[in-house]
Amino acid sequence: MTHSTPDLSLRHHRREQGLMLALASPALLVILLLIVLPVGWLAWQSIYHDGFTLENYRRIFSEAIYWRSFSLTFQISLLVTVLALLLGYPIAYAASVVPKGWSVLILALVILPFWTSVLVRAYAWLALLQRTGVVNQFLQYLGVIDEPLALVHNTFGTVVATVHILLPFMVLPLYATMQKIPHDLMQAGASLGGSPSHTFWRIFLPLSLPGVLAGTTLVFVLCLGFYITPELLGGGRTVMVSLLVSRNVELYDQWGAASAVGVVLLLSVLVIFLIVGRFIPLDRILGQK
């Protein structure tokens, strides 16, 4: 009797797992077809061209242009992520503390740009930032500057537009986490003698970390492979990894080289997450109740 009970529940558990797997199988199939197969094909191409070769990888690790591009990509992604967090956190915070109607308005303003294509928004930034653009003309009109500033066709323009385009990906996970933080925790903090800033740093901020983690991860990863903004606003000088890929394919018809770049980018992201995961208890932050 006493022995059969755990057995039964274990069997029940197994059956439940089987059922879950069956239910998830269509989605798993889609993931397999659309992600695993292409990525596998990519990896295969990077090491096989009329026979097995590591030439593509040798070039990546020996030629300076690759190293510079990877380093620039990670720097820009880091900068964009930090800026998006600094801009997004207050927005999400405001949306989570104001009355319902206002938070809907704030979120609508954040999401609204989603309804226009990324391309249109990138060109809009071009119109704003170029030498004869709105910003330069306005500053010159005010007499703040004599010569137009180089706001675009460089890293600055790329970063500004990318932050703008990726901001919703920061704000939405942050807001989702923040609005779940029970309001009476803040009241409890205050009643126990915590000043508003003490309560924020000790209670609200730690409890919003899962959102920070989700938002920064999302923005960072999206930014690593971002193509349109560096292409349109980088002026050929901001050669991010995505541009390397497209040049290898379009200019030199080097599918193998392009694939290798993609594989290295993917692996470096995985390595970063493994390292970060060692220092930040991801599962504890994400699994927080």
Binding site: Q187, A188, G189, A190, L192, R202, Q288
Partner: protein, 360 residues
């Protein structure tokens, strides 16, 4: 600051949310070291009143005073009040010890003093040695105790509690009630306690304030509230009373249907009067020739066995329903007629409580 205990005074406080009147001109004073319960049905404004005291809510009009000090505009973290929230509001990312130490950290007390104080506060609530536990590992009763320790560690002069026991099961709730009472005596703080459970309020409090629709209906000692309710709402809320419409005859008697009942109490003026009959005040007529007692005769409609007592339902000739309680004793069984049989009960004029009918 610190352990000084002060009186609390709420002067004509109102709180409006648009057209909703959550609190309507409430005036209430609480003496130092007093245990006062706020009792009322859901939506009667209990939490709102507690929010005004805690500083989480600003009154639309009126003022709040602690001792001589007007604290109406003071933010919560300056009020030095311990608050125990309905669902405990423990910080989920902190251990039990960190939760309890929060007020010490917020007050920038020397870190060296924390462990001893935390140990003392946890021992006070019977959780010695729980410092390292995670909040998620605790049972409901233990969380409640941690919340209590956290609210007491800085020795506040006033402690507010919003239905702190409502999530616990009955047995634990009753033992916690007794513990809280003893704790109150030991720490000597003023406690304002919100509950919707009348028995809990009567058990624990020096005085009970009855709220309804944002208004303070009556504040009194438990026995006073039970025996001298201000109106039919209070009478229906406290104890187990049947309320029957009656008509005033003169200053000493009322008419209940065809029957005339004498009351030794002052009968209020007005047309809409109710007789509040507590089920424990009705006795089975023992035939003694005591003409002073009010007598009511009806038919037994049901006898319900409830363990330590029996509840007997009777219907008067005009259909009015009443109930009385008898201890489940052999003698009682013999005197109760079977369902359908006639039963005469007596009500002492001292227990004949006539109250004005409360506005709906």
């Amino acid at each position: 600051m610190g352990s000084g205990v002060e009186s609390v005074e709420i002067k004509s406080a109102s709180k409006h949310y648009g057209a909703v009147v959550a609190l309507d001109n409430v005036t209430l004073s609480v003496a130092p070291r007093e245990f006062v319960s706020l009792l009322g049905p859901s939506g009667s404004g209990k939490t709102t009143l507690l929010g005004l005291l805690g500083g989480f809510i600003q009154p639309t009009s009126g003022s709040i005073h602690f001792g001589e000090r007007d604290v109406t505009l003071e933010p919560p973290h300056k009020r030095n009040i311990g608050v125990v929230f309905q669902n405990y509001a423990l910080f989920p990312h902190m251990s039990v010890g960190e939760n309890v130490a929060f007020p010490l950290r917020a007050r920038r007390l020397p870190k060296a003093d924390w462990p001893a104080k935390v140990r003392g506060a946890l021992a006070m609530v019977g959780l010695a040695g729980y410092e390292e536990r995670g909040v998620a590992q605790l049972s409901g009763g233990q969380r409640q105790r941690v919340a209590l320790a956290r609210a007491m560690i800085f020795e506040p002069r006033l402690i507010l509690m919003d239905e702190p026991l409502s999530a616990l099961d009955k047995q634990l709730r009753e033992s916690m009630q007794i513990e809280l009472r003893q704790l109150h005596k030991r720490i000597g703080a003023t406690i304002i306690y919100v509950t919707h459970d009348q028995r809990e309020a009567l058990t624990m409090s020096d005085r009970v304030a009855i709220l309804k629709d944002g208004r303070l209906i009556q504040i009194d000692k438990p026995a006073q509230l039970h025996d001298h309710p201000a109106d039919s709402f209070v009478a229906s809320f406290i104890g187990e009373a049947s309320l029957l419409p009656v008509r005033r005859i003169d200053s000493g008697s009322v008419a209940l249907g065809p029957a005339t009942l004498r009351s030794a109490r002052a009968i209020p003026n007005g047309d809409a009067l109710m007789l509040a009959v507590h089920s424990e005040k009705l006795l089975i007529d023992d035939g003694a020739d005591n003409a002073a007692l009010n007598r009511l005769t009806g038919t037994v409609t049901d006898v319900v066995y409830q363990g330590e007592s029996l509840r007997i339902f009777i219907a008067l000739p005009d259909g009015t329903a009443l109930s009385l309680r008898q201890p489940s004793h052999h003698e009682a069984y013999r005197r109760i007629p079977p369902v359908g049989g006639p039963l005469t009960v007596t009500l002492h004029p001292e227990d004949t409580i006539i109250v004005p009918k409360a506005a709906e």
